[in-house]
């Protein structure tokens, strides 16, 4: 009775369909319990009209429950029509046949009650499994209420069949169950604010506890997802965050599959909340925003709450909640949504600051790298230049002072050799610069890698190492011939540099799936595992290369990687210290379209 009075008062204060249905439901429940109590206490047979009314109210209960299912989640229209028809048929039949209820009618009434209640119980259990946070707790309470009500009904049905001395116990049990179900329904359908807050609190607490760490998540999308999750758990409704995109002047939402939806400000609820900078609630979005009707229908959305996310003057976005039905929301949810939006604003603002700091750091790092590059390049260029300048001046002085003296061949050779070295370094530097601009690779043509490998090997026959090509068939793709040749030359030279004299170097060329594969195999000093990840970086040289016989700027493999990657391929290395290294290259076998 107390519950009935409390929900009735609320239904009067806020006359919505859900509140009316809840009041009706508890009214019916109270009536049935009261009537059976009176019947038990007075031990008299009630008058026929009362029996008819009792039966009518009993049959109304599952029907009202069905309406409540519809208020909170969704019931198909055909189910509603069938339930209504069944209800009307049952009530008419009862009025016609009182005082005596023929067994088929009793069976019909019990069957109706049972089937509709079961349908409702299943609907609420399913809704509770879909729901999260507070809504989940509410749906669970309602499911529990449905189960208890069903049990009490079974007990009521069993009572007349039981032996006399057990009837009182069964009756008492039945009443206990129906009372408990009333309490459970009450908690689910109309949780008092204090209980709602108790349910919300742990979710809010865990959300706020995590909020501090959110700005450091790798991407803004990760943060948005976490904020959405926290808001969903705290309110029990589906939360979505739309972020204001300065460059497009739109609100961007992310779907579950990470696709994006952009919204003009002022359109839909989120856009309006953003433009007006105040929360907007709609308990009937299809009516209030016909433009989005299709979306609301397909996603089964029956209520929307949107609230702006704003940090001081900066409008960051919108936090939008949606639920199947309006009663899922409580009045206090608007306040809660505002609180969550403020928290989201703090998190997102921190992220902006962190991003800004990271950009500044990245710029400084880029500047530092550029300076490192310049000073390393200058250093490496000055070394051969020293020989060229000093030696050439000395040769000149000698030629002036002793015109008849024999030529200083060793000195001349030094100048020639160091000039070539200088030219190579300048070439590498230019390539590295082109690589940074992504225009290392030029015009492509069909190139047979097997033949090219033979040419590169043959070019090096005069050298101390033996170069062999292993290829069974031509492997033709569309490549920049000059660059691929440079790639193979670099890899072969690299292999030779770090191999003992006269140990063979192999170039293997083959096709695997849709890729051309090249492997340059040496049995040289190898590369320590710790250096492998950096080996293709600019100015990288393995730590076990302390022999400066190997001049160069450490740009060779960096350029190799650039050539391969600009061709859309991959380069990697397998190596073991003391056993040798194998450099692998995989290049796409380009289709005709890419042939110019």
């Amino acid at each position: 009775m107390l519950i009935f009075i409390s929900v009735t008062l609320r239904a009067v204060r806020q006359p919505t369909r859900a509140h009316t249905d809840i009041a009706l439901f508890f009214g019916a429940l109270a009536f049935v319990i009261l009537a059976s109590r009176i019947a038990t206490l007075s031990r008299t047979t009630p008058p026929p009209w009362l029996i008819a009314v009792e039966v009518g109210v009993l049959m109304a209960m599952p029907y009202i429950l069905l309406r409540l299912v519809d208020d909170f989640t969704h019931v198909r229209a055909v189910v509603k029509r069938v339930a209504e028809l069944g209800f009307v048929v049952g009530v008419i039949a009862t009025f016609v046949s009182v005082p005596a209820l023929p067994p088929p009618l009793t069976l019909y009434i019990v069957g109706y009650f049972f089937v509709v209640s079961l349908y409702c119980a299943i609907a609420f259990i399913r809704a509770s499994r879909r729901a999260r946070g507070v809504t989940r707790r509410r749906m669970e309470a309602i499911s529990l209420g449905s189960i208890l009500l069903g049990t009490s009904l079974v007990l009521a049905g069993l009572t007349p069949l039981a032996p006399d001395d057990n009837r009182a116990i069964l009756q008492a049990l039945g009443q206990l169950f129906s009372l408990s179900s009333a309490v459970a329904y009450y908690l689910g359908f109309a949780p008092p604010p204090i209980l709602r807050r108790a349910w919300q609190e742990p979710e809010l607490r865990s959300f706020l506890a995590r909020a501090a760490s959110l700005p450091r998540l790798p991407t803004t999308l990760d943060i948005v997802r976490e904020l959405e999750r926290g808001a969903t758990n705290s309110t029990g409704t589906a939360a979505r965050i739309g972020l204001w995109q300065e460059h497009t002047s739109k609100l961007r939402f992310w779907e579950d599959d990470d696709t994006t939806v952009d919204l003009e400000p002022g359109t839909h609820f989120a856009g309006r909340a953003f433009e007006l900078q105040r929360p907007i609630f709609s308990g009937n979005p299809i009516r209030d925003n016909p433009d989005g009707a299709a979306g609301y229908r397909s996603r089964n959305i029956g209520a929307v709450l949107a609230t702006p996310i704003t940090a001081g003057e900066r409008r960051l976005g919108v936090l939008a909640f949606s639920a199947e039905r309006a009663p899922i929301f409580a009045v206090s949810d608007i306040e809660l949504a505002g609180l969550l939006a403020d928290q989201a604003a703090v998190v997102l603002e921190s992220r902006v600051l962190i991003d800004h700091a990271a950009r500044v750091r990245a710029r400084e790092e880029a500047t530092r790298l550029k300076e490192d590059f310049l000073s390393a390049a200058a250093h490496d260029l000055k070394t051969p230049l020293t020989t060229v300048v000093a030696q050439a001046e000395f040769l000149e002085r000698r030629a002036v002072r002793e015109p008849s003296a024999p030529a200083d061949l060793a000195g001349i050779r030094r100048v020639v050799r160091e000039s070539k070295r200088l030219a190579g370094l300048v070439g590498d530097l230019l390539d590295a610069t082109r690589l940074e601009q992504g225009r290392l690779v030029g015009e492509r043509e069909p190139v047979d890698l097997a033949t090219l490998a033979q040419e590169v090997c043959a070019h090096d026959t005069a050298d101390r190492s033996i170069c062999q090509v292993e290829a069974t068939a031509p492997v033709v793709g569309a490549y920049d011939r000059r660059r691929i040749e440079q790639l193979l030359q670099n890899l072969v030279e690299n292999a030779k540099k770090y191999s003992p004299d006269r140990t063979p170097i192999k170039i293997k060329v083959w096709q695997e799936d849709a890729e051309a594969r090249v492997a340059v195999v040496d049995s040289g000093i190898g590369i320590p595992a710790a250096d492998l990840p950096r080996i293709f970086e600019r100015f990288s040289r393995a730590s076990n290369v302390d022999d400066k016989r190997f001049h160069g700027m450490g740009l060779g493999l960096f350029i190799c990687r650039g050539i391969v990657e600009e061709h859309g391929g991959r380069i990697w290395v397998e190596s073991e210290v003391g056993k040798g290294s194998t450099f692998h290259v995989a290049l796409p076998i380009a289709d005709g379209r890419r042939l110019n």
Partner: protein, 152 residues
């Protein structure tokens, strides 16, 4: 003053006691011996041949360890020291010498911008910034040919 050495016959790397083409200064041997240290063989060969051609006795070393050994063995009047070398670099060589109490003048050779600062750091008497020309090289070496240098 360079003419004094011009056209002098190339010398071998033995102590310059056999030298006849330049004035003797008493403390013979060390004053015209220059140790050149650089891991780049071209620079080493170039500087050695130039200085030899100008009448100096040149000892060359391509690593820090060789350099220390050569200092102990030949007691040069001057060391031309490259800074960036693998394993034992110029700093290590200079530090080792000063720790031994050896005050032989050092001229730092480096391609880095910070040549002067590095020279100060290792307590060197001078520096040659790569790439240096013939005149820079000869003027610097000449300055250290005798302790206290010689007026230009």
């Amino acid at each position: 003053m360079m003419d004094l050495w011009a056209g002098g016959p190339p010398r071998d790397e033995r102590p310059a006691s056999g030298s006849t083409t330049r004035p003797r200064t008493g403390d013979e041997g060390q004053h015209d011996t220059v140790l050149v240290v650089d891991d780049d063989t071209s620079i080493l060969d170039t500087v050695s041949s130039i200085l030899t051609g100008e009448g100096y006795v040149v000892v060359s070393a391509s690593t820090g360890e060789e350099a220390l050994e050569a200092v102990a063995r030949r007691q040069p009047a001057l060391i031309l020291l490259d800074m960036r070398m693998p394993v034992m670099d110029g700093w290590a060589v200079a530090r080792a010498l000063r720790e031994q109490g050896n005050q032989v003048p050092i001229v730092v050779m480096t391609a880095a911008e910070s040549a002067k600062r590095w020279a100060d750091e290792v307590g060197a008497e001078g520096y040659l910034a790569k790439p240096f020309g013939l005149d820079d090289l000869l003027a610097t070496v000449e300055r250290f040919r005798k302790p206290g240098g010689r007026a230009n």
